[in-house]
């Protein structure tokens, strides 16, 4: 009992530390005046919210392009993850260790170095300062996570159902589609969720590779934070975290439904 009390204290502290800053930006995002040394703002305002929609940032377009880029990253990254995981988990071949290392590579190389180097490489390929180039870089950054998640589910699902479908007369693609993919779906969604978040919050890679032409929410957020306008910075942060949370929970509840559905069958 004593020990539980101690552990609960750890959890309560962690929960408070996580929640307090988030609550703080919510308050700051509608604050008009909060002079030192008051503990609460003295006047609230909706100026910041108006600024969001009428200001120069063009929030709806920004949201759309950021989400579209992140969704594309999620789909592509997960697709590559599915393929790679199939190779490493279901087949035996020499050099598998090297393949695993390749999958981890983007995690072992700092994003800043990668961004600078890849920008120069993409310049030669004519992909620098384009959406396609940024997408490619985001997929690369997300890939280690996609491969790891898909590797786990692929191992768990195995090739058994697919083999069964094959001996019952399904061709390779249909066997995969009908027998294996449904089992992989929870993993596919987790992988997409992770890739989405990573792409959505990329700053330095988008800054360098996008060359200012590709604008995302994470990119325009930074100057607001640098500006020292706390309410405006907070309102953008709230929009960012809120939209990320929304999509995260949509995917998460889909996973939940799927896992429950899988159990009742």
């Amino acid at each position: 009992m004593n020990r539980h009390w101690c552990l609960k204290l750890v959890l309560a502290t962690a929960a408070a530390c996580i929640l307090i800053p988030v609550a703080l930006i919510l308050v700051w995002s509608v604050t008009a005046r909060w002079p030192w040394p008051d503990l609460l703002p003295v006047r609230l305002t909706l100026r910041t919210v108006r600024e969001l929609f009428l200001g120069s940032a063009q929030l709806p377009r920004l949201l759309f392009s950021s989400v579209a880029l992140a969704v594309a990253t999620a789909v592509l990254g997960t697709a590559v993850g599915v393929l790679t995981a199939r190779a490493t988990e279901l087949y035996a071949f020499p050099g598998k260790g090297l393949v695993r290392l390749c999958g981890l590579l983007p995690l072992l190389i700092p994003g800043t170095v990668f961004a600078i180097g890849i920008h120069l490489t993409l310049l030669r390929l004519g992909l620098a300062d384009t959406l396609a180039g940024v997408l490619l870089v985001h997929v690369t950054v997300a890939l280690p996570y996609c491969i790891a998640i898909m590797g786990d589910v692929t191992r768990a699902v195995g090739a058994g159902l697919e083999e069964q479908a094959a001996v019952l007369g399904a061709g390779p693609l249909r066997a995969f589609w009908l027998a294996t993919l449904p089992g992989l779906m929870p993993g596919v969604l987790s992988s997409m969720s992770m890739a989405f978040i990573l792409s959505y919050s990329q700053y330095f890679t988008t800054l360098i590779v996008g060359g200012g032409r590709v604008r995302t929410l994470a990119l325009v957020l930074v100057p607001y934070i640098q500006s020292g306008d706390r309410p405006l910075a907070s309102v953008y942060a709230v929009v960012f975290v809120g939209s990320a949370l929304l999509i995260f929970f949509l995917l998460e509840s889909a996973i939940h439904r799927m896992e429950r559905g899988g159990k009742s069958k």
């Binding site: 959890l11 393929l83 490619l136 990320a244």
Partner: protein, 290 residues
């Protein structure tokens, strides 16, 4: 034969991505050796490395970045492990609390910098609380935590974001071990604390060490937090490198690339060291073969 082709097709996208990554690294290293034909530099030389490595400002930046990376990764690993142990110990490995723990993963680093400003600045919430409690009489008496040479703000921000990452990263493994081997240890007479430290924690170490490595490399090469929360001097290495990269004097490009090269090589060295250590440990666990 068909199997071989299948594997090659499945691995083709990864090969493409790997080629990009290697090309990126190669470009950085090549330019750091003074090979930038576009700017009329086409001889390989170590002179840029010699110049940069002899520069005290660079060494200071390197020290700052190493310190940020080491303290952030260490603190995050320790705090994250504690959170994870608490989740496992109280049986809350699913449900609301785990979602709360995943929240910081959704928050970009720039926003954590904003958190740091709103909380730790001399006019931030903590300073206000200190004033309300009578601990300080004026905001200038509140300790400087942001834009200091100690980079406390950046480290605290990394801690906020990465400790929950560690907890979530380790959770499944630790819960599995605790529920089987940890339970067995208690059954054999180990107290819960002893069972945790002799069985559950050592066997969770691979995941904790991996999380440490990921955070170390990330914080070592991270740009936003030291840029937003650091002082003018000393700058963190990625900030210093970016400044050099953006220099209008194009023929100075190799100096910037040396700094990126150092970040790259040290990160890869860290990863290699980790790989060697885990392999040695694995061999030790494998024990004598019959």
């Amino acid at each position: 034969m068909r199997g071989k082709w299948k594997i090659l097709i499945l691995l083709a996208p990864l090969a493409g991505v790997t080629a990009l990554v290697l090309a990126a690294c190669g470009t950085v290293l090549l330019q750091s050796l003074g090979y930038v034909p576009a700017f009329g530099l086409d001889t390989l030389t170590l002179s840029y490395y010699r110049a940069v490595l002899g520069d005290p400002a660079f060494l200071q930046s390197l020290g700052v970045s190493l310190r940020i990376a080491a303290t952030s990764a260490l603190l995050a690993a320790a705090a994250g492990t504690a959170i994870c142990a608490a989740l496992v110990g109280t049986g809350r490995t699913r449900g609301a609390l785990t979602y709360l723990v995943r929240l910081p993963i959704l928050v970009p680093h720039a926003v954590t910098a904003l958190f740091a400003v709103l909380l730790f600045a001399q006019t931030g919430l903590l300073a206000r609380l200190a004033f309300a409690l009578g601990l300080i009489g004026d905001f200038s008496q509140f300790p400087q935590l942001l834009h200091t040479a100690g980079y406390q703000g950046a480290v605290l921000s990394y801690l906020w974001k990465e400790a929950p990452f560690v907890a979530y990263f380790v959770l499944a493994l630790m819960a599995g071990i605790s529920g089987t081997l940890g339970e067995a240890a208690e059954n054999l007479g180990a107290s819960p604390l002893r069972s945790f430290f002799t069985v559950t924690l050592p066997l969770s170490m691979p995941a904790i060490a991996k999380a440490f490595l990921i955070i170390f490399i990330f914080a070592f090469g991270g740009y936003e937090l030291p840029m937003l929360l650091g002082p003018t001097v000393p700058k963190a290495l990625p900030v210093q490198a970016y400044l050099a990269y953006m220099s209008p004097e194009l023929r100075d490009r190799p100096y910037a690339m040396v700094m990126y090269g150092v970040i790259l090589l040290l990160s890869v060295a860290m990863a290699a060291l980790y790989g060697l250590l885990t392999r040695a440990l694995w061999r030790k666990l494998g024990g004598e073969r019959p």
